[in-house]
């Protein structure tokens, strides 16, 4: 067999050009990565410096911010009497988030197990797009839905125990919002479990349900837990639904039937109010934003730790 012309010519491209452009590309990629880091640093810098303005004010102290049981930044006209305790806002956020998670996590995980392990391809082919439709619903519509449908239904069912704006209806709407995320991320994690593990379980006489619960879910645990944490962060940060449906009164309570202004809800209201630049109210915005940032940041860190821990035990 004669050598083909291309190999006879031995007309190879110079590798020098490749090496130089490779170096330039690596620098460019590094610069792009640097930009995201700079943006993050910029945001943190701004949050910290601006919230310093809040804590420097005579009307607040860090201690009061963390322990006071009232938040009346917008309610009191008299600055001297305004209370800046983050706890009511935090409790509002936690109530809404908890209710949302009670809906999204079990429902999302069960749907994911069904989709990944049991559903025929035909059922999958319409169930998945349906879930994606939920993900596509604008949050403002869900907020509306919470006030106009969920809240009246709750009032009707409980004989009027719920106020019009309450933590539960907002929580349910946020839960619906997080559902597709929990579901599709958990499903991805379960589908990534190698077939050999399933075969191993079937080979020992497991039923399909036992296989999925005892082998597939534990094997996919790192992915499932990070899906949960991501949904948790999403729920904490969710704004439009709670601004519309959770009410505007910060309350420190565990009662899910009452109003519950969340941290994000407060930020919206604050920005829309007419507080002037430089006032304590204005700076309180940043203090709340920093708190919110710290919570979601902690969740992200936790997610990474969990992922690392569980991955080790399954590889």
């Amino acid at each position: 067999m004669a050598l083909p012309k291309a190999l006879q010519n031995r007309d190879f491209r110079s590798t020098r050009v490749g090496m130089i452009s490779e170096r330039i590309i690596v620098v460019l990629l590094g610069l792009c990565a640097l930009i995201t880091v700079l943006i993050t640093i910029g945001i943190i810098y701004m949050l910290v410096t601006q919230s310093a303005g809040f804590f420097r004010s005579d009307f607040v102290s860090l201690r009061g911010f963390l322990t006071d049981k009232e938040w009346t930044a917008l309610q009191s006209q008299d600055l001297a009497k305004a209370q800046f305790g983050i706890l009511p806002l935090l409790s509002g956020t936690l109530r809404v988030t908890l209710i949302a998670m009670l809906i999204a996590l079990p429902l999302g995980l069960i749907t994911a197990i069904y989709l990944s392990e049991f559903a025929s391809s035909k059922i999958r082919s319409w169930l998945k797009p349906t879930l994606e439709v939920i993900a596509g619903v604008p949050t403002v519509v869900l907020g509306y839905f919470a006030i106009l449908v969920i809240s009246p239904s709750l009032q009707w069912a409980s004989g009027g125990a719920f106020s019009t704006f309450n933590a539960t209806s907002a929580g349910i709407a946020v839960g619906i919002l997080c559902l597709p995320m929990v579901c599709s991320l958990s499903e991805d994690a379960m589908r990534a479990v190698p077939r050999s593990l399933r075969e191993g379980a079937y080979g020992l006489g497991c039923t399909p349900f036992e296989t999925s619960v005892k082998v597939v879910v534990p094997a996919a645990l790192s992915g499932i837990v990070s899906a949960f944490l991501l949904a948790f962060s999403r729920a904490i940060g969710e704004t439009m639904v709670v601004a519309l449906a959770a009410g505007t009164l910060p309350t420190l309570t565990a009662d899910p039937t009452r109003q519950a202004q969340t941290m994000t809800g407060f930020i919206v209201e604050m920005i829309k109010s007419e507080s002037e630049y430089g006032t304590v109210q204005y700076f309180s915005l940043y203090a709340v934003a920093v708190s919110l940032f710290l919570i979601t940041f902690a969740m992200t860190l936790l997610g990474q730790i969990v992922r690392r821990r569980f991955q080790e035990s399954y590889q």
Partner: protein, 278 residues
């Protein structure tokens, strides 16, 4: 069963010529982090011969193979000391000696010259044609006709042309394991390397595909210098000219395959080739 190509008389003669060392290894040591995987190894790999590396798992044979085209660069903590060079005068066309361990060495060029085939067939998720054309498209300027010719030639050389010629634009991953491995060999030779490294190329294949690849290896040595790592003693004895036996990071013995398998000088070699351990 094995037929040596007679079409190319030049290479037939070369096989009869005395050994000319193409790759010279002297006092070679390699580490993964603090763990020393290879200890003071010296070995010559002759041109246009098949050299087999044998030995039990973890003896360092794959480590040495992967240093020959610097695949270990991508393993964090891997480093080596000693001499590992391509002898320039044995090359076509003759050139200067190349120190493979030189940190400033252009590894892209090195790997074009020294191709590698892995244990598990790893065709790209592209068509059969695009898999073979992948290297040439990266490395040379060709016309469409030249590329077609090169792809066909490579696939023929790798003894897989007849099976794939009607579905060149079908997915490579649709081929059987043995066909995929021959496709990977075609892909490796399409950039015109001088040396082919093979890291247990048959261990994931069935006996029939293994035989096809072994025939192919025997055939290819008329134009390529081949280094093959294998766990399979019969394979080493069937398709190699030279054998090097490794044990616990040291080279115990090397020489003509026939001698290693019939009259080994070292007891360890004798035990191993007779299947007493490993």
């Amino acid at each position: 069963m094995v037929t040596v190509s007679t079409a190319n008389t030049d290479n037939g003669e070369q096989n009869a010529q005395p050994d000319r060392t193409l790759i010279q290894i002297d006092d070679f040591n390699a580490w993964y982090g603090d763990f020393q995987a290879l200890h003071g190894l010296s070995l010559q790999i002759p041109r246009y011969k098949v050299t087999a590396f044998i030995g039990p798992s973890g003896c360092g044979k794959s480590t040495l193979l992967k240093w020959i085209n610097r695949m270990n660069d991508i393993i964090p903590g891997a480093h080596a000391k000693g001499e590992l060079k391509i002898c320039g005068e044995a090359e076509t066309p003759p050139g200067r000696d190349t120190n493979i361990l030189d940190p400033a060495l252009d590894v892209v060029r090195l790997r074009r010259k020294i191709g590698i085939v892995f244990q598990k067939p790893n065709p790209f998720p592209k068509s059969i044609y695009d898999n073979v054309a992948f290297g040439p498209r990266l490395h040379m300027k060709t016309t469409k006709a030249e590329l077609d010719e090169l792809v066909e030639w490579s696939l023929r050389k790798a003894a897989v042309w007849e099976e794939v010629k009607d579905r060149l634009h079908g997915p490579a991953l649709g081929l059987s394991g043995g066909q995929q491995q021959r496709l990977c060999i075609a892909r490796a030779i399409a950039v015109g390397p001088e040396v082919l490294l093979m890291d247990e190329p048959c261990s994931a294949l069935d006996p029939a595909s293994t035989l096809a690849i072994e025939d192919l290896i025997f055939e290819l040595r008329s134009q390529y210098t081949i280094v093959i790592v294998t766990h399979n003693m019969q394979q080493a004895s069937r398709c190699s000219d030279k054998t090097a036996f490794f044990f616990e990071g040291r080279l115990i013995e090397s020489g003509d395959t026939e001698r290693i398998f019939t009259k080994p000088e070292q007891k360890q070699t004798d035990d191993y080739v007779r299947g007493k351990f490993g």
